[in-house]
Each structure stands twice: as structure tokens, then as C-alpha cells.
């Protein structure tokens, strides 16, 4: 008789105690570790999705012109900072599913980054050209750094620093925002850098060039980083084709000790040895590569393409450099985002108004979610990776 009574008393205590109340609330608490946002570029909205449930949770509107929009996450994965084309910087709360702050900080911008400590958000602007740095909490302006042209390839560098390049002049800058801003030009990358990326170990800043052949690397671990130009002779033979969409470098693959790089204006993925910076192979692909993204925890990279081949996606084995699969996931595949451990990939099919989900082992479609002209897909796991 005694034991059941104890149990009852214990249960009652649980129900009545603040603990019990909290347990009830926490069942409604929104964890954000498996959430993500899909940019709906024409409608100026982002669609919040739950990766595990493969479901759309809600739509957050009023973010302006989101062509070429990208975003980055706060370290607690609660807030997203959305960088819009129209110069808008918007802070979205994933838990409340709403826009909590927005500043229109330039006429025309292209992307941004969050500092390694999560305290500062920097935006790369086309018009007027330069970089602006904001307090991540309030979006108050912290620093304004005008440049002589459109800034591209803005990335975070450890130690509350950012690096970027200037399309018009080729100059590369490193800004230190630990105290009073200190900005220094570290070298010239070459003619018309179109995008840049930092390796996940924050060692190398790679700048892709549009105006001339090649890629320029800066060793950011060095005391005084020097520009190192490579791939200067690729594609000497044969005629380049017009580029209908600039490749993106934000997710350049770093597989098997190699960089997998898009050949600008050619139907090729180029493989470069990370140590020697020598080209080791070229893979013929179905179109001009836009994104080349490594499938986490695997030897594979996935590639999507510019117009008119943007309905295809190819998978390449980074060991053999062979195309191992050609998929047709939908109309106008603009972006691909992998689950952090690589189990599945989400791809935006802009002209089908949906996001399609593929299992990476079977490479079969396992689901889809309706979205308005989706472009970039961003999972919150990005919060914990340098350069994203």
C-alpha cells in the first residue's frame, strides 16, 4: 500500500511543481538545430523548414529584393541575418518565426558574414561599394569602410576579422574589428575577382577571377599574406563559352586533399592539389558549374549548372574524378544544401516552385516541399562553421 501512495505523491508533486510546469512548456519549445531557411527570392520571403520533419514551419515576409540573397546564423542558431540585394540586412528569429530587425544599409549589396564570436555582422556592398559592420544584437552600425568598387567574397576570419575583395580593382583587404577597426590591403588578386572563399581551417583565402584565367590564394596564417596566382594556364586550348551565371565559390569543395573548382566559361570541374596548387585533373560535366559542393563524410561532390543546363545535377567521385551520377531533380536547380552529416541533400527547383529532397546513398528522391521560386537553402548547422 505504501509504495503506490508514494508514487502518487511523487506524480502529484511533479504536476504541481514548477518543474512539471516547465516540462510542459518545453514540449512546445522549438529546438533549432535541425531547422533551416529557404530564400524565396521573388517574393522577398524566407521559408522556415524543419529538416527532420521535412516540413515547412512558416514563411517570414518583408525582406525586400532577395535575388542573390544569402544568410548566416547566430552562434545559438536562433537568429538568421539575411543579406538582400537591395541593401537590406534583416534579422530573423527562427523561434518566433518573425522579422525582428531590419536596416537598409546600402543601395545594393551582395552578401555578408558573422564574426567568429558572433558579435558582429559585416555586409558586402556593391553600391556604394564597401563593407559595413553591424552589432549583431541591435544591428547598430559599428564601422563603415568605403571601397573603390563593388566588394565581393566577404568571409569571417578568426579573431573578429573579415576578409573581402574588390571586383573593380582586384584588391584584397583584411579588416580587424577587435578594437578600433584596422583595415589593411593585403595584396592584389588579379582582374575582376567574382567571388572568394576561405577554407574551413581558415588557412587559405581563395579568390576566383573573371577578368583573367586563374585563382589567387592568400595564406591567412602567414604574418604577411602574399597573393599566389595559380591555374593560370587552364583552358588555353579551345574557346571559352559565354558565362550565363557567375559560379559561386562559397562552397568550393575541399575533397581528398584537393580543391574542386568551377572552370569559368567551360563545362569542366577542375581539380587542384591543395599543397602544390597544381591542377591534377579536369572532369567534363553537363554544363558550366555554378556550385560544387562536397557531400559531407563522403568522397563525392555535387555540381549544379548555369543556364541552359540548370535542370541537371551531377555527382563526381573525388578519387577517380569520374561523374558517377547525373540527376534531373527539377526545373532550374539553383542551390543544394546537405544535412550536416551528409544523409540527404535539399535542392531548390526554382521553376517548379519546390525544394526536392534526395537521399545521398540511393540518390533517389525522398520528399519535396512547396516553396515560391526558391533559391538558397541554409541549414542552421552553418552557425558552427568558419566561412559560412
Amino acid at each position: 500500500m505504501r509504495k503506490p501512495l508514494w508514487d502518487l505523491a511523487f506524480s502529484l508533486a511533479l504536476i504541481l511543481s514548477p518543474f512539471g510546469a516547465q516540462a510542459e512548456t518545453s514540449s512546445e519549445t522549438q529546438a533549432t538545430g535541425d531547422l533551416g531557411l529557404v530564400v524565396e527570392r521573388a517574393t522577398g520571403s524566407v521559408l522556415e523548414i524543419d529538416r527532420s520533419d521535412r516540413a515547412a514551419l512558416g514563411r517570414i515576409e518583408g525582406l525586400g529584393d532577395l535575388s542573390h540573397a544569402s544568410l548566416t546564423y547566430s552562434p545559438d542558431e536562433r537568429y538568421a541575418y539575411v543579406f538582400g540585394r537591395d541593401g537590406g540586412l534583416s534579422k530573423v528569429d527562427l523561434v518566433a518565426q518573425k522579422l525582428v530587425a531590419r536596416v537598409v544599409q546600402a543601395g545594393n549589396s551582395i552578401g555578408g558574414a558573422i564574426s567568429d564570436d558572433g558579435k558582429l555582422v559585416a555586409v558586402s556592398n556593391y553600391e556604394p561599394g564597401g563593407v559595413k559592420v553591424f552589432d549583431a544584437e541591435t544591428l547598430a552600425l559599428v564601422a563603415d569602410i568605403p571601397m573603390k568598387g563593388k566588394t565581393i567574397g566577404l568571409v569571417d576570419v578568426p579573431g573578429r576579422r573579415f576578409a573581402w575583395a574588390v571586383w573593380d580593382t582586384g584588391e584584397v583587404f583584411l579588416g580587424d574589428f577587435k578594437g578600433d577597426p584596422k583595415v589593411s590591403m593585403i595584396g592584389n588578386a588579379g582582374k575582376n575577382p567574382f567571388d572568394a572563399v576561405i577554407t574551413d581551417d581558415a588557412h587559405t583565402y581563395l579568390v576566383g577571377l573573371f577578368g583573367e584565367k586563374g585563382v589567387t590564394a592568400f595564406d591567412l596564417w602567414a604574418e604577411a599574406p602574399q597573393p599566389l596566382h595559380f591555374l593560370t594556364d587552364y583552358g588555353r586550348e579551345g574557346e571559352d563559352m559565354p558565362v550565363y551565371k557567375m559560379p559561386h565559390l562559397q562552397s568550393w569543395a575541399f575533397a581528398e586533399g584537393q580543391y574542386a573548382l568551377p572552370a569559368v566559361g567551360r563545362h569542366q570541374v577542375l581539380w587542384v592539389d591543395r599543397q602544390s596548387l597544381k591542377q591534377t585533373a579536369a572532369t567534363e560535366v553537363a554544363g558550366q558549374p555554378v556550385f560544387i559542393i562536397e557531400q559531407p563524410a563522403s568522397p563525392y561532390v555535387w555540381v549544379n549548372f548555369a543556364l541552359p543546363d540548370n535542370g541537371k545535377v551531377q555527382v563526381i567521385d573525388s578519387r577517380s574524378h569520374e561523374v558517377v551520377a547525373t540527376l534531373e531533380p527539377g526545373a532550374a536547380i539553383l542551390h543544394m544544401e546537405f544535412a550536416p552529416r551528409g544523409a540527404e541533400v535539399w535542392m531548390s527547383a526554382r521553376d517548379d516552385n519546390k525544394v526536392v529532397i534526395y537521399d545521398t546513398q540511393t540518390r533517389e528522391k525522398t520528399g519535396e516541399i512547396a516553396a515560391e521560386a526558391p533559391s538558397g537553402i541554409f541549414f542552421t548547422a552553418r552557425a558552427h562553421r568558419s566561412g559560412l
Binding site: 521573388a42 529584393d65 535575388s67 537591395d86 559565354p242 550565363y244 541552359p308
Partner: protein, 93 residues
């Protein structure tokens, strides 16, 4: 799209162009560089004000042949001359 309809109907009749497809292409694909609202990006603004004084024939040629030395590619491999002319008129309107 519905907002565009009167505009599409008002344009001079052109030979065999798929107007909704081209309008979609202008917004989404030209928009990749010129901005979805065509107010500019990596490429220059393409609003009617920005294009004032530029003859449609010249714009058609730029669309077809691109601008060498810049990021503007020739669209001739993907568009007919009629389609390029339609886009030029559409941008000016």
C-alpha cells in the same frame, strides 16, 4: 505575373515569342546579375529610366552579342533575334 499581363498585351505583336516565358527569364535569369527588380547588381540597372535614350535596336544587339570585356554574355545561343527584340522592348516599357 498578373500585374504584368496588361503590359504584355500592350507590347507590339512579335513573331512567335513565348511572352510569359521571356518575362520570367528577364526577372529570374537577367535578374541574377541585374537584380530581380532590375535595379542593378553586378550588372547595370535595366529599369526604363536607366535605359532612357538607348534605342531598342542597340539593346537587342547587346542582348544577342553581349559586351566583350565585361560579364555580359552573348545570349544568341539561347535566344532568337525576335526574342531579344521582345526583351529590349519589354525592358524599355
Amino acid at each position: 505575373m498578373l500585374r504584368l499581363l496588361p503590359l504584355l498585351l500592350a507590347l507590339p505583336a512579335q513573331a512567335e515569342v513565348d511572352a510569359p516565358r521571356l518575362a520570367h527569364m528577364v526577372q529570374q535569369d537577367c535578374g541574377s546579375c541585374h537584380g530581380l527588380t532590375l535595379k542593378g547588381g553586378l550588372g547595370l540597372p535595366l529599369t526604363p529610366q536607366a535605359l532612357e535614350g538607348k534605342p531598342p535596336e542597340a539593346l537587342t544587339l547587346i542582348i544577342l552579342d553581349g559586351i566583350p570585356g565585361t560579364a555580359m554574355p552573348p545570349w544568341r545561343p539561347l535566344l532568337t533575334e525576335e526574342e531579344a527584340a521582345w526583351i529590349a522592348a519589354y525592358l524599355k516599357d
